[in-house]
Symmetry: C2
Subunit: 402 residues, 2 copies
Amino acid sequence: MMRPFRSLISLEEALEIVKGAINPIARTEDILISDANGRVLAEDVIANMDVPPFDRAAMDGYAVRAEDTYGANQFNPMTLKLIDVVRAGEISKKKVGANECIQIATGCKMPPGADAVAMVEHSEQCESKIKLFKPVHPEESVSGKGEDISAGSPVLGVGECLNPSRVGTLAALGIQKVRVYERPEVAIVPTGSEVANLGCELKNGQVYDINSYTLSAIVRESGCIPVKFDVAPDNYEDVRNAMVNALKYDMVVFSGGSSVGESDILCDVIQELGGILFHGVQIKPGKPILFGVVRDKPVFGIPGYPTSCLSNGYRFLLPAVRQLAGLPKRKDIVVRSKLAQRVVSTLGRSQFLTVRLEDGFAHPVFKESGAITSMADADGYVDIPANVDLLEKGEEVDVILL
Amino acid sequence: MMRPFRSLISLEEALEIVKGAINPIARTEDILISDANGRVLAEDVIANMDVPPFDRAAMDGYAVRAEDTYGANQFNPMTLKLIDVVRAGEISKKKVGANECIQIATGCKMPPGADAVAMVEHSEQCESKIKLFKPVHPEESVSGKGEDISAGSPVLGVGECLNPSRVGTLAALGIQKVRVYERPEVAIVPTGSEVANLGCELKNGQVYDINSYTLSAIVRESGCIPVKFDVAPDNYEDVRNAMVNALKYDMVVFSGGSSVGESDILCDVIQELGGILFHGVQIKPGKPILFGVVRDKPVFGIPGYPTSCLSNGYRFLLPAVRQLAGLPKRKDIVVRSKLAQRVVSTLGRSQFLTVRLEDGFAHPVFKESGAITSMADADGYVDIPANVDLLEKGEEVDVILL
């Protein structure tokens, strides 16, 4: 399956290969619903009770027997006897008989005998008599027991992602804990003898590990748990050891070590333990990305240059970890803007162009793959397709927010 | 400042009032950059080092003295003596003299003497001789020390929200901890004698507390910490006590207790301790929303019906807590869809219409403010302006995802 490095595949083809190689996580855990927003249901939720749990008033008004109101109009009101007043949270112990009514607040349980609520707006009170100027039909302004959700009916299904309204739905059913898929753990392994762990003094010729932090943030905001490794030096033994340790997790991401010379080690390790599915994609920056499967675990090799890494993080890792977590495809936040300057792209390469949004314009901030300011100044990116080689100044583009 | 309940203000006016009453949090904390994604910077970040920290090769190739390559072309290559090979992470101890070169990997520190990198692609190696077929100019394919970011220059500013690329930027500068604004704490107080805490058995006429869970989820995903209170019964004493306890936090949200009769208690408590800024907005559902300020803390009273609460949560609470956290206005994720059915709205009321996205259509799921299924089935909502009373089946609408 190894592809020679110089034969690049298209972005779309590469994404399809990744998609085909990832199995969503199957492990589950039971968590409190107050922690469940954003998580993915691992069980169908069946209503264990009726909602509402009893017939209740849907309006502030008078609980009546509908038949007692028939014929009422502006000139001939029906007069009912007020026998009780029920405020929020209260229950009447009385029964509504013929030509009687009970004042009731929205949400209160309907008293026995009554089958409708007459609105305050269409009534007049004189001491303990209520005049109604409009008839009501049976069940008017009443939410029937189980009308919204009846016990035993399906409410939410496996694979649904919980949002605030669905968390509220669980509460409505009295559910305190819910079974969700675990957050997958993603090993992030920086490599390169020139890369120093944060907190260490830089030795001559070294730079700090940037990519693990960028990638960890992407992984975390995509519903997974990043497990950051220390920097692995560029040699077979260390890279192989790191790989073996990293395979304990659900996915493995190496950063650095996938460009021409360096990539040899990671390639060799992947091929010894598993297989490479592609190496090199028609994108810019980030071309030398490497993807394979080792012991059923997807493994990425992402080039070390920070903007290449950022670009691969959004284009490949983000959809991959969301799929792993059982989350739907990310819905990008897109801001339509005008380009502040002309942009030349490379035919045959999908370009990930970082931009800053300012004064309603998208200002390209990409300098070169190694530049940190290409990242620091970026609010989002413009995806320039492989068949486009020029975007004019002032042209409208979709900026996908980071 | 008290407005009579029946005089409703517009949604826009109400949102302006809320905006004017909120002061972004000033408390700060120092956190690890690995925890800082999504947080708001409380300090300017000034580069404490040059990036790159040394002159480095921007390409794989040969470190040369540019002047030695002048005049090279396809037919008359310049021949240089290869005196060393520097792989990633290595440093050459040699100096490049006249007509000498050192093989160098991308990212490596430039050896003394050399001022440019000649690309491998334009060269040929014969044992320890390198033939170059193209001249290079000084600094070609070299990233100069501090060229990207020079020590002492500003990199990120107070108030910027950290995203993965900005977290990576901090790492590039060797920064391990960063000062951010604390996440504000928002007290969420369910009220109503008919409301039971989750985990308690429902008494006759009771329903479970739904709204604290919905609102907590919205608060948490908007960069704040929800502090959920137990249900406060509908009486002056209990509501006042809850208010006094809740005022320890940065914002207070009461749910339930803001519709006609019930609202009296919360209104009275707010007026005793502070002031009401509005009560009642031209929206549907959620009209009886109440907003005031007590001891400099913004206080919301959100109606108890679950969909009213959800709607107010997105329309009022979400922008308010983001402002409190120092976060920019939420960039909504919008999906343009066709309405699956005709929708009648109320003139003079901005409607929050919950919809489910299915088969490319937006299916309205709103039944009534009390219905849980209006929430459970919702993927997003359509904001119908106050001056629109009808949307036709098949009409294109913007669905804002929940």
